[in-house]
Symmetry: C2
Subunit: 348 residues, 2 copies
Amino acid sequence: MKCNDTLTGIDRRALVSGLALLPVAGALTLTPALAQADPLASWNDGAAKKAILDFVRLTVDRASPQFVAEEERIATFDQDGTLWVEHPLYTQVVYCLDRVRDVVVQRPELKKFESFKTVLSGSREAIAKLSLHELEQILIATLTGMSVDSFAAESAKWLAAAKHPRWDRLYTELTYQPMLEVLNYLRANAYKTYIVTGGGQDFVRGYSQRVYGIPPEQVVGTAGGTKFIRDTDGKPFLMKEPKLLLNDDKAGKPEGIHLMIGRRPRAAFGNSIGDRDMLEYTGAGDGRRLMMLVLHDDAQREYAYGPARGLPDTRVGTFTPELDAEAKKNGWTVISMKGDWKRIFAFD
Amino acid sequence: MKCNDTLTGIDRRALVSGLALLPVAGALTLTPALAQADPLASWNDGAAKKAILDFVRLTVDRASPQFVAEEERIATFDQDGTLWVEHPLYTQVVYCLDRVRDVVVQRPELKKFESFKTVLSGSREAIAKLSLHELEQILIATLTGMSVDSFAAESAKWLAAAKHPRWDRLYTELTYQPMLEVLNYLRANAYKTYIVTGGGQDFVRGYSQRVYGIPPEQVVGTAGGTKFIRDTDGKPFLMKEPKLLLNDDKAGKPEGIHLMIGRRPRAAFGNSIGDRDMLEYTGAGDGRRLMMLVLHDDAQREYAYGPARGLPDTRVGTFTPELDAEAKKNGWTVISMKGDWKRIFAFD
């Protein structure tokens, strides 16, 4: 048994330690038995958990008639309300409002605008009533007109300090633990995971790797143009321009997926009417597909807002009765935060 | 020696066959010694080959002060004239001209336009004199107004049949073997390879995996908008619209890289003045970078066109004296097809 000892000893160890250096997907493809016992440990047993497990099992098994080749394994995730808390305001909007004070120091002429006056007043009620046009003025002043590098530095600084009022925690801690498990589980099965968000592409790319394990090039978001110019020393840089290239919401989601990925997803996750077109586009492909919607029905641990299913309508246009009906008709799986998730956050 | 026999026999074989299942990058990271003797076999020894080998060696060695983390290993390649033949016309322009005959059958009213008359006349001389505006009419009629899927099917059919007049071979066979080796060599060292082309993103994505080993999501190109709509049965699809989102040439190249990748490349390869901004952007980053330009100085095996270095100026604005001067100033490496490449094509 000397040979076997060698094989199960030194060489197996060398192989295993070698595997540890490989990308996770490769390692788990080689040795599926090494996968953790329950990859979705924060999920209660039920239809939602089963839908995810069945989808993965049937699409990665070469013997399955629903097998999907590795290069076709694309999964897309909305961010706000699907991967992290979107209440009471989108995190990026909080960022823009917080930046106003600094921006008017550099550009005092902006103080003349009603929109800036309102934000500087600090009145939540008045801010909530800003018109779309006024909000646009704020977004343009805080998200454009600086270099890509300055914006990355500013937003990183803010994210490292700003806290959510309800939990008194960094916004980046308010990701849903069950969804992080789905991301990891899909990646362990060679799915390429993408964020497809109505939020700003540059903003989300700044933390996507650290927070979700998703590299910047796999973030599709609302994107403005940039301009390649040179500074006074001749050094080239990219300036963020107030020009909208992609409004990554509703129909803009499948359009953005085609622009940035060029393949139809096999799985898509969302939570609002803004994700409906992405899920429809995903479902219109052939073979096995997975479409899921997160329902915020847990006022105690997170929030409860519909307006479908009698949940308090504290936000407009997220989980609408229309979306609920379409989910039923198309067989999309609704994830109940209250029923399907053992815990919401990693710190729970 | 029985144990050794086993190790070098069955188990080594098992290990090697296991490695064959892994992504190339992972396998070579695990066992660099298994890398082929000369990954750039079609290159003559010289400054260009050395620049590539030195760059990879110094950026993937953890002990090197110029080490680059795997996730930062991004390399971008222009396509026309850098990865395959661009002479006498860009392949995609040939496609558009060839499609005109079919398009006017479906839309006879187009025959009234001078631009379409010219193309239908078949006169090369007249076609070469089409104005930019007239060429635009042709491109819009042949590249937009159909679904993404129809376009993919049409262009695939054409690419499977159309041949280059000089070599009487499919256009997809006219890729430069030395550059395919560079792509493979970079990928074997965990570099993510991207095409960044002035050509149409949808067109190039149709064959990038098969021809270059580059998946569609790693092709950045000139991109038009799409519109997410539903057919009469309610089935959703993406329609190609005559709306330019990204003109991926000159300054559009770094802008497109930011939009689609969100990271500055570590290495960039081009051949024309249209690639200058991409190389400048790449070179403006910190740490080790590699910027290279292909010079078409081999009239016998391919073509010779400058206008720099006294090469016949058969095309406007490719390797200009201005680009040549900037390459010298910035230490970009010029690849001489004649001197640096042992062979040009795989079929040579």
